[in-house]
Amino acid sequence: MRSLARETPLILGLALLAFMVAVALLAPALYPSNPLFSNAPPMQPPDWAYPLGTDHTGRDVAAMLAWGTRVSLLFAFGAAGISLVCGTVLGAISGYFGGLVDDVLSRLFEMFNIVPRLFLIILVVAVFGSYLWLTVAIVGLTMWPSNARIMRAQVLTLKSRGYAQAAIVSGAGPFTVLFSHVVPNGIGPVMANSMLQMAYAVLTEAGLAFLGLSDPNIASWGQVLYWGQGFIASAPWMIIFPGLAIAMLLMSFHLIGGTLQERLDPRQQGAMA
């Protein structure tokens, strides 16, 4: 019982995430027609036919949000995934080989830290167009340095551990040692960070949409918020529901990520007892 109470945040987070994934998978079944088609009377408050109301051009908010779940999850997993791969590989290489490689890569991390990230994203999206995949990629590519930093620190401490040394002695190549022995053991904190990055990616999607920089052919939560901002007073459901959806998904990432961080971050382990 007591341990169940301990796990509440994790269970809650996983349940929320599972719900979101389910909605994303079921969206085409629930709302088979294009969610961006105006098939309903405009500005309908929530009722039985349109449980989350309709927008100013007669689009079903529930349909747009359901389909938008796919976009948000794509952003979360796509961008964080790109960041995870790039960050892990570059951070690991930097930490493992040291020397010049480390110097160059570390400067690269620093440089990305210096450049204002959102503007970089805005610039690329504004210039090359607000294509969904491009936006996902650029968000991912601006997030990796923090993963790289964590991975680098992990590798620095782990590479002297017994199993790594044993693998080296047994004649394994440096990449084998690094990616089959060191990285798997040090990936924990990076995973925890990835959950937070997922949250950031979802927020970035919303922020870009709010600035008018998202793909008009796709229904996303940020888009609904963007359209809804003009109707705070007359159609608050256009603002409240996407806001809630974002908060829910982010909450799930934070709850899962927080638990992961507690469990996997060596700095946060070991109580006084």
């Binding site: 400067r107 210096i114 450049v115 204002p116 927020l203 709010f210």
Partner: protein, 318 residues
């Protein structure tokens, strides 16, 4: 300290140079011709070519980069295409508004966030801790512009207590200017404050919890200090280092975070200037903005170092 500073600048210089070069190339290689934007839709091809020439846009990009860097060394940030004014003048004008907003909200969110975090840590796993932890996460999960719209809705439209936007009031000229600005700043600063508060609360909670496990905290308890003194006087100061680090590093991140707030509240800041510069292909302003952000990071880092020496006597720079 001075020697340390000099060394730091020498160290950071290549990184800045690299960042400036990357910005330059990224911006200048982007599609969209500023000359076309400047000349307007009806302009003839010859005029566009002429404009390109007069702004040096016709040279190869690497040559332009060289010219830009040389000018930069002389403190010349160039001339805004869109405003037809020196970039430095524009940046300084708009940076004031942003820095005012950012620094004040940052000040309060560090202060209150740290206090909340320390309070939560002191009551670890108790109801206050849960409330603070979940409350701040929830706050953190709300998009910043969403918070902004809600604030406007409640305090400006419904209650009509505070102005919804801008920095200046035209309706009541009797007030001293600084009071006027302060009143206009309450909502946007609160918005930014609410957005960054969770970061500092979370950080303070984690690091106070960590410090609370240290031996000297047990010593303080053994001496018989009250829990409040133990946490606020002994644990907190030792736990402040991560907060200072994050605060220093986030100066430039805040600049961009301020963009959304500035958009919602029509605050005449740097974020909006840069955002509009993207649309206008106003390269010099964009580059200047990026450079400004870069310098902020360096200044932020430096301030962090100074505060470190104050907070932790073990840190010595030479």
């Amino acid at each position: 300290m001075l020697r340390y500073l000099a060394r730091r600048i020498l160290q950071i210089f290549p990184v800045v140079l690299l960042a400036v070069m990357m910005n330059f190339l990224l911006i200048n290689l982007a599609p969209g011709d500023p000359a076309v934007v400047m000349a307007g839709e009806h302009a003839p091809v010859e005029y566009i070519a002429e404009l390109r020439k007069s702004y040096g846009l016709d040279a190869p990009v690497l040559e332009r980069l060289g010219t830009y860097l040389v000018k930069l060394m002389h403190g010349d940030l160039g001339y805004s295409f869109a405003y037809r004014r020196p970039v430095l003048e524009l940046l300084l004008e708009r940076a004031q508004a942003t820095m005012l907003l950012v620094l004040i909200s940052q000040f309060f969110s560090i202060l209150l966030g740290t206090w909340l975090g320390a309070y939560a840590a002191r009551h670890h796993n108790r109801i206050a801790d849960k409330l603070i932890s979940y409350g701040t996460i929830l706050l953190y999960c709300m998009p910043i512009f969403w918070i902004g719209m809600m604030l406007i809705m409640i305090f400006a439209v419904k209650l009509q207590w505070l102005p919804s936007s801008g920095m200046t009031s035209f309706m009541s000229f009797g007030r001293p200017r600084w009071i006027d600005i302060a009143i206009h700043m309450i909502l946007p600063a609160t918005c930014l404050f609410l957005h960054t508060l969770p970061i500092y609360a979370k950080l303070a909670r984690a690091s106070v919890l960590e410090v609370a496990r240290e031996d000297f905290i047990t010593t303080a308890r053994a001496i018989g200090f009250s829990e409040r003194v133990v946490y606020m006087r002994h644990a907190l100061r030792n736990a402040l280092l991560p907060t200072v680090t994050v605060a220093g590093l986030s100066l430039s991140a805040l600049l961009t975070g301020a963009l959304l707030v500035e958009t919602v509240f029509a605050w005449p800041g740097l974020g909006r200037l840069m955002f509009e510069a993207v649309s206008a292909r106003d390269y010099p302003v964009l580059m200047g903005g990026f450079l400004f952000a870069t310098l902020l990071v360096i200044i932020g880092n430096f301030i962090v170092d100074v505060i470190y020496t104050y907070l932790d006597p073990r840190v010595i720079y030479s």
